[in-house]
C-alpha cells in the first residue's frame, strides 16, 4: 500500500507535466487555418455590379472565395498574389465585406480585378454565417462545400502549405 502511494505521488504530477508539455508545445504552424467541412450557407445578395446572386453560383462548384474590402490594408498586400492565382487559372469569387460599392469598384479598377464575380455583402450577413471575423479571409470550396477556411493573408507559403494539399487531394484546377 505504501509503495502504491509513493508511486502515485510520483506518477500523477509527472503525467500532468507530460500532458501539459504535449498540449502546450503542439506545433500549429498555421493557426489561421481551419479544415472543417461544411455546406456553404444559403444567401441571397447582389453582386458589385448590381445583379442578383444566390447559392446556385456556388453549389456544385469548385472555387476560391476571398473576403476583401477596399478599407482593408492586408487585402492590398494580398492582392498581387490573387492576381497571380487568377493567371494560373484558379477561379476566385470575391466577397466584398462591409464596403461602399463605389469604393470597391474604384479599388478594382485601380489595382486590377482577380475575381470572376463579387458578392456585395454590405451588412456582412453572409460573412457572419461563414464565421468571418475580418478581412482578408479565404475559403476553398469543393463541390459547393467549404473544405478550408483561412484567416489572414494568402501568400505563396500559405498557398503551398494550406491550400495546395487540399487541392491536390481532390485533383482540382
Amino acid at each position: 500500500m505504501k509503495l502504491l502511494l509513493k508511486l502515485l505521488i510520483l506518477t500523477v504530477p509527472i503525467s500532468f507535466l507530460l500532458m501539459f508539455f504535449v498540449l502546450l508545445t503542439e506545433d500549429k504552424s498555421y493557426p489561421g487555418a481551419d479544415y472543417d467541412t461544411y455546406n456553404f450557407p444559403k444567401f441571397e445578395l447582389e453582386t458589385l455590379a448590381g445583379e442578383k446572386i444566390f447559392n446556385s453560383r456556388i453549389e456544385g462548384n469548385d472555387l476560391l472565395l476571398n473576403v476583401w474590402a477596399s478599407w482593408c490594408i492586408t487585402c492590398r498586400v494580398e492582392h498581387p498574389y490573387l492576381m497571380k492565382l487568377k493567371r494560373q487559372g484558379i477561379p476566385i469569387l470575391g466577397l466584398n465585406y462591409k464596403d461602399e460599392r463605389e469604393d470597391a469598384i474604384e479599388w478594382l479598377n485601380k489595382y486590377g480585378n482577380p475575381y470572376e464575380d463579387n458578392i456585395y455583402d454590405y451588412k456582412g450577413s453572409l460573412a457572419l454565417d461563414l464565421g468571418v471575423t475580418g478581412a482578408p479571409e479565404t475559403f476553398l470550396i469543393i463541390n459547393g462545400q467549404v473544405v478550408v477556411h483561412y484567416q489572414g493573408e494568402v501568400n505563396e507559403m500559405v498557398w503551398n502549405e494550406v491550400f495546395v494539399p487540399a487541392i491536390e487531394g481532390e485533383g482540382l484546377f
Binding site: M1, K2, D34, G124, L128, L130, G131, T133
Partner: protein, 123 residues
C-alpha cells in the same frame, strides 16, 4: 403652451429610454444579457461579447437578438456560434467526447486525494 412643453418633454424622455435592442418581453432581454456574457468575442484575446463593441461582436449581438426573436433556444444559438467561431467561443465548454477529461479531472483528482487520505489514515 404648458401642455405642449410637457408633451414634448415626456416624449423625448420616452425616446431616450429606448434600449438599443428591442425585445418583446423581459424574459428575452434577460436571455440576451446572459448569452452575451457566456459567449466570447471572436476578435478579443479574452473578453465576452457583452464587453466588446468590435464590429464582429456587434454583428453577433444583432444575430443573437434575431435568433431570440425567431424563438431559437439558447442551445441553438450557442451551436450556431460555436460551429462558426470554434468551440472556444463558449466560456463554458460543452460536455463532449473531447472535453470529458476537462470536466471529470476535478473529480478524478478529488478521488485520488481521498484515496490517499484514507489509505494514510488506515495505514
Amino acid at each position: 403652451m404648458k401642455i405642449i412643453f410637457l408633451t414634448v418633454f415626456l416624449l423625448s424622455a420616452n425616446l431616450l429610454s429606448d434600449s438599443i435592442y428591442n425585445f418583446e418581453n423581459e424574459e428575452d432581454e434577460l436571455r440576451f444579457n446572459t448569452l452575451v456574457k457566456e459567449i466570447r468575442c471572436p476578435k478579443c484575446t479574452s473578453g465576452s461579447l457583452s464587453s466588446s463593441s468590435a464590429p464582429i461582436s456587434e454583428d453577433l449581438k444583432l444575430k443573437i437578438v434575431q435568433m431570440i426573436k425567431e424563438n431559437k433556444t439558447d442551445e441553438e444559438i450557442k451551436d450556431y456560434i460555436s460551429m462558426r467561431f470554434g468551440i472556444d467561443s463558449l466560456y463554458e465548454p460543452e460536455f463532449r467526447t473531447d472535453t470529458y477529461f476537462l470536466w471529470s479531472a476535478p473529480f478524478i483528482l478529488l478521488l485520488i486525494a481521498l484515496t490517499i487520505l484514507f489509505t494514510r489514515r488506515s495505514g
